[in-house]
Amino acid sequence: MRVIKDNQIIEDGWQRLETVEEDQPLPEGDIIIPFRYWIEHHNELPEREGQLAVCIDGEDETEEVARYLDHFPLIALDFPAFKDGRCYTHAHLLRERYHYEGELRAVGDVLRDQLFFMKRCGIDSFALRSDKEMEDALAAFNDFSVTYQTAADGAPPIYDVRSKA
């Protein structure tokens, strides 16, 4: 998968399966499967080579995902349309409330002009929509040098910044 990570464009081994056929074995390698599939099958998944990650979307409950965080080196957050903002809350809660330290990856309708907000909510890799130029999108992280609120990126609220200035 080609993604933006740590302000660079990298290619890594993760492969996302948007759906998994019920009676087919999972492919080899590092794969991202739907969280619902994992919930239904994780007790019966055969031993396999490669890492396993899940993809969640706005319909999933963060609290349920949080019960299994130790299993996942990566959680993908699906934005079916960039206007669907539910995964911002997922990301915030996974980082701030459940202290998830693995990778949070935005997938789906991921566009340059939302990257700044996504990063602030704790998302740290970005699979840009395939028709968009990743090189151009890197600039988005520098859109703002000042922010007002605290967020999962560790920024203090502006009132703390002011009182220490």
Binding site: T89, F117, T147
Partner: protein
């Protein structure tokens, strides 16, 4: 008023640069129409019937004279020489060019203004009481809390793609002049039995297709928890608000579907987990922001003036204006002055560049250089000495700004309607004109007294028609404009949604029908009863009967009026 520091200024400057780049990418085809839409909307830029419309934020309705001058400059330089003050206390320009909007934003940034989050599915401009800080009935000035909320909500990373738009209003007075219960979140500053001030929290009010008066979900919220509680409400909404149907996406639908108790329970559960986090508001921070809203150095000799009384008794036009447009002030010898943007021959809320500059100068001379906008689309000078009122009135008259009609029939709330808005089904401005032409006798208007007509050109209800004492909703029936009337609404402390009068009436009959409604009121009123009180006492029947029992108006006079 609040002054930007380097942080605030950096944010608006960087916003200008960001938007300039987004416009460049849009014009070069790099961004599609669909991709650009939410970006421009979050900067208040709509594509409308004739041209783009740009909405500029006026946080809680407060402007310095320099800011108002700049709004005038923008009207002249980038538009057709006027602007339109909206029901969210903002200003809208109807004719800017898309490629010049970045320059407009840069001009705004030079006077600490912006168009951030004036549209889009995000937290909009926080609105408030136009008498904040000077009202006699005020428990505490709401503006510091509005400013704290403004900063918290600006580019909030988690809440910038909500299911739908989100409007917050705050008042610190006992009399509600800010339409609190029709907001997504409405906050009343209240005092508890220990004499501490905090907030009564209302969630899920709103108009549009499914109007609701919002329920109280918490009777008393300590001030230090303001931000964490807001964050809890927004988080519950962002997670569970409907996204499958734009007409059911506002928080009012969620609150109503769950029931206020269950919704409140979810908010409280979320809040428990974040209430003592870094979101806790330090009293030091509250005090720091409060220091921007201290009272001016009032002239305490102002009440010794005797000329005011003399002018009142000598000049009936002046006393009519004072009676309607001048309100009491907490400091002796001072008054709050409404500048009516409802002159009979002007679309409600419109103001020319020349008028804006003129008002800015008047505010420097008479009111410490500040001007407020109101949700009913007028302007206010908040701190005028009584001895200056006569001079001020004469000056306002020169610019057609002294129509003595605040609170009267012709002080209508009106959306831009079919003339400008691409959502509208019917015109509103022509109806306002029709009403102004029929009811042009000032003595009659004064006799009818306080009455609110609110008018929307479609069910999105930008003109707040549900909560008008008389509400007017434009509908389209087979290509023709018709108007649905409601009676008995209110957005104040006695908030209520109006009741439907009956079948919609034809365009040319609206003023005539209002005339009949007022006849019934005049016949039925007891003592000093306002229209709303009479309606609530006698009910719909007599009004309905008078309007529909007699043949609908088709006399030449009414037609002549309507065809203007």
């Amino acid at each position: 008023m609040y002054q930007y520091d380097e942080y605030d200024q950096t944010i608006v400057n960087e916003r200008v640069a960001q938007f300039r780049d987004q416009v460049r990418r849009y014009l070069s085809g790099e961004l599609s129409e669909d991709e650009f839409r939410p970006l421009r909307l979050m900067n208040g830029l709509y594509i409308q019937r004739h041209a783009p419309m740009l909405r500029v934020a006026i946080p809680y309705g407060l402007l310095s004279s320099d800011q108002l001058r700049m709004l005038g400059h923008i009207a002249r330089e980038y538009d057709k020489g006027y602007g339109h003050f909206s029901t969210r206390q903002n200003i809208q320009y109807n004719w800017p060019e898309v490629d010049r909007v970045p320059d407009i934003l840069a001009d705004l940034a030079s006077v600490e203004m912006h168009a951030i989050q004036t549209s889009g599915n995000c937290i909009r401009n926080i609105s408030s009481d136009q008498f904040a800080g000077v009202a006699e009935d005020e428990i505490e000035d709401p503006r510091p809390y509005c400013e704290i909320l403004r900063q918290w909500s600006t580019f909030h990373p988690e809440f910038s793609y909500l299911p739908r738009k989100f409007k917050i209003a705050v008042t610190g007075a006992t009399h509600d002049r800010a339409a609190i219960p029709i907001h997504d979140i409405g906050l009343y500053i209240v005092e508890n039995d220990k004499g501490e001030t905090g907030f009564r929290v209302i969630v899920g009010g709103g108009l549009g297709r499914s109007p609701y008066i919002g329920p109280v979900i918490r009777e008393f919220l300590e001030k230090q928890h303001l931000l964490s509680y807001m964050e809890a409400i927004l988080r519950v909404y962002n997670r569970y608000g409907r996204r499958d149907n734009i007409h059911k996406a506002r928080i009012k639908i969620l609150v109503n579907a769950l029931g206020p108790e269950k919704f409140a329970g979810m908010v409280e559960n979320e809040w428990e987990q974040i209430r003592d986090s870094v979101l806790l508001l330090d009293q030091k921070e509250i005090d720091r922001v409060k220091a921007f809203f201290t009272a001016p150095d009032y002239d305490l000799t102002a009440e010794n003036d005797t000329a005011f009384e003399k002018h009142l008794s000598a000049d009936k036009d002046f006393s009519d204006w004072v009676k309607r447009n001048v309100k009491s002030h907490k400091v002796p010898g001072h008054r709050v002055v409404y500048i009516s943007l409802k002159a009979p021959d002007v679309p409600p809320g419109d103001c020319t560049a020349e008028q804006m500059e003129f008002i800015a100068d008047l505010s420097d001379r008479y009111s410490y250089g500040e001007v407020r906008t109101t949700h009913d689309q007028n302007l206010v000078l908040s701190d005028v000495k009584q001895g200056d009122l006569y001079e001020l009135w004469q000056a306002l008259k020169e610019q057609n700004l002294a129509t003595p009609n605040i609170g009267l029939l012709t002080d209508m709330i009106c959306c831009p309607g079919l003339d400008f808005c691409s959502l509208a089904n019917a015109g509103s401005i022509p109806i306002a004109k029709q009403i102004n032409e029929k009811f042009d006798n000032l003595d009659y208007l004064h006799d009818i007294g306080e009455i609110q007509i609110k008018m929307s050109g479609c069910m999105n209800a930008c003109g707040h028609h549900h909560v008008g004492h008389i509400g007017i909703l434009g509908v389209n029936k087979k290509g023709e404009e018709f108007y649905q009337l409601t009676l008995g609404g209110s957005s104040s402390n006695d908030a209520a949604l109006g009741d439907r009068l009956g079948p919609a009436v034809a365009k040319q009959e609206v003023a005539e029908v209002i005339g009949r409604i007022l006849q019934v009121y005049v016949e039925q009123r007891e003592g000093e009863e306002r229209f709303l009180e009479t309606y609530r006492r006698v009910g719909m029947e007599p009004f309905k009967e008078r309007v529909y029992a007699t043949e609908a108006a088709n006399d030449d006079e009414v037609r002549a009026v309507a065809s203007h």
